[in-house]
């Protein structure tokens, strides 16, 4: 890629920095150039976020229909999966999977709820009393 071809499109990264890329100068030698963004990249990131939003929406419906507990919804909302959530809570993955069941969730101790609430960065009430 030549330096003058370096895209300067808008991107979410703009608020933080321009990023450095390796490009050819007019003498055909390598140099570095700064880019504000590239539409192709931005669109790839956007489509990943569209997918996330859709998953969160499905999770919300599942909780409302009482198929899943709020733990599942907040896991999706915080972009976590079982591995990450297990890492933060210290619970086994199969334990967390059990907590996804509404009737198991109903009987969770305050201690466990506090652990989840803290990691999801919400209050216990927001977790127990699902209003999303």
């Amino acid at each position: 890629m030549k330096k003058e071809e370096l895209p300067q499109d808008k991107s979410a990264l703009e608020v933080m920095t321009r990023e450095l890329l390796y490009v050819k100068n007019s003498n055909g030698k390598y140099t570095t150039g700064l880019s504000t963004g590239w539409d192709i990249k931005k669109e790839a990131l956007d489509s990943a976020w569209d997918d996330i939003k859709e998953r969160v929406e499905l999770a919300r419906m599942a909780v409302r229909n009482r198929e899943m507990s709020p733990v599942y919804y907040f896991m999706e909302l915080r972009l976590m999966d079982l591995t990450v959530l297990s890492g933060y809570t210290g619970f086994w993955k199969f334990t967390i999977k059990r907590h996804f069941k509404p009737y198991v969730f109903q009987r969770l101790s305050n201690e466990k709820l506090t652990t989840y609430a803290k990691i999801f960065d919400i209050s216990i009430n927001e977790l127990k009393d699902f209003k999303e």
Binding site: T17, E19, V23, Y30, L34, L45, L79, V84, Y88
Partner: protein
């Protein structure tokens, strides 16, 4: 403090930390491409079955941590690395280093990194930054992907150092120890060794999912995605490939331009004109990776009718890339670069 720390912006965080720290310790000639090449950073792998963030698991570079440790080993530099089980001990260790005036590398997760834009904050735990001081209770941070330096509060620092999930940093702190002057012979040897390592990794590892064969494997997979996953999900898979390839940290074209820049430098150091031609091969490869991203973008952004032939175009490009890189590495493997 006798030495002043100087922030350097790099394409990739690990290269950047390595380059900055080596320069701080007196290796003024060090550059990001040099670290990347000597550390044998270029790679390709497509792990089958495994799905990350609902997309295929592809990588354009070696394991996190590998580049710095390989480069240091070849140059005869010892790197001290410490992980922690106790948060308190991790804080004390870092503060002690700050007090001694030693800039250190820290592995962090980006999900809670406040200066990252929200769109970029996933649970990715292999980001690297340098802590080079502390002022008014805030750590002074040199994040290699940024144009300027920044700061982190004590609370935020603890959060990002103890992010959880895959590749959890466990508060890891690392820094080079007793860096000596490096002779031209040692440097040339390290460059040759780095090239050799990359040739082995790209050409000779067994199986069909790594190196230049791995690129061919992805090409084959892409041809089947539309039928197997449906047009929408297949498009998302392509978007994931583009993100791995172009997202902040690769220097563009999935590290291929960075490697081309390394070979250009290597040709100077080793006095081998031919390396310049091979550098051009990697520039060509990088350009084709960018071109494939454009074609993939047309699919996931819905600028095509999302037909099988659109996927075939992408797959054909990857096949071409695989061939170019294969030939380039065969040429490299046949060169006599010294031991």
């Amino acid at each position: 403090m006798e030495k002043q720390f100087k922030h350097i912006q790099a394409a990739h965080c690990e290269n950047g930390v390595a380059t900055s720290l080596m320069r701080y310790h007196g290796l003024e000639f060090m550059s990001e491409p040099l670290v990347f090449g000597i550390g044998a950073g270029l790679f390709y792998i497509h792990v089958p079955v495994l799905v990350i963030n609902n997309g295929p698991a592809v990588a354009y570079r070696t394991m996190p941590g590998w580049i710095f440790s390989q480069a240091s080993k070849s140059l005869g530099i010892k790197v001290s690395r410490t992980k922690f089980n106790s948060e308190q001990k991790a804080i004390e260790f870092l503060d002690q280093k700050v007090k001694e005036g030693v800039p250190v590398g820290c592995q962090v997760g980006v999900f809670n990194l406040p200066y990252f834009p929200p769109e970029y904050r996933f649970h990715f735990n292999a980001h690297n930054i340098i802590v080079y001081g502390k002022e008014n209770g805030n750590y002074l941070i040199s994040d290699p992907v940024m144009e300027t330096v920044t700061t982190l509060s004590e609370a935020d620092m603890l959060k990002v150092r103890f992010a959880k999930g895959p590749l959890a940093p466990k508060g890891q702190v690392y820094f080079p120890e007793n860096v000596q002057r490096i002779s031209k012979e040692v440097l040339n040897k390290a460059i040759a060794k780095g090239i050799k390592k990359s040739t082995v990794m790209m050409l000779r590892l067994p199986g069909n999912i790594v190196g230049t064969d791995g690129i061919k494997y992805t090409s084959k997979k892409i041809r089947s995605w539309r039928d197997k996953l449906g047009p929408r999900k297949a498009g998302l898979f392509l978007a994931q490939i583009v993100r791995m390839q172009e997202e902040i940290g690769t220097g563009g074209g999935g590290f291929r331009f960075l490697y081309a820049a390394f070979l250009e430098e290597a040709s100077n150091y080793l006095g081998q004109e031919k390396l310049l031609n091979i550098s051009d091969d990697f520039t060509k490869s990088g350009d084709l990776w960018r071109e494939s991203a454009v074609q993939m973008g047309r699919i996931y952004k819905g600028r095509t009718n999302n037909e099988q032939k659109d996927f075939e175009i992408c797959a054909d490009l990857l096949l071409e890339i695989s061939n170019i890189e294969k030939q380039a590495f065969v040429k490299l493997s046949k060169m006599k670069l010294g031991k």
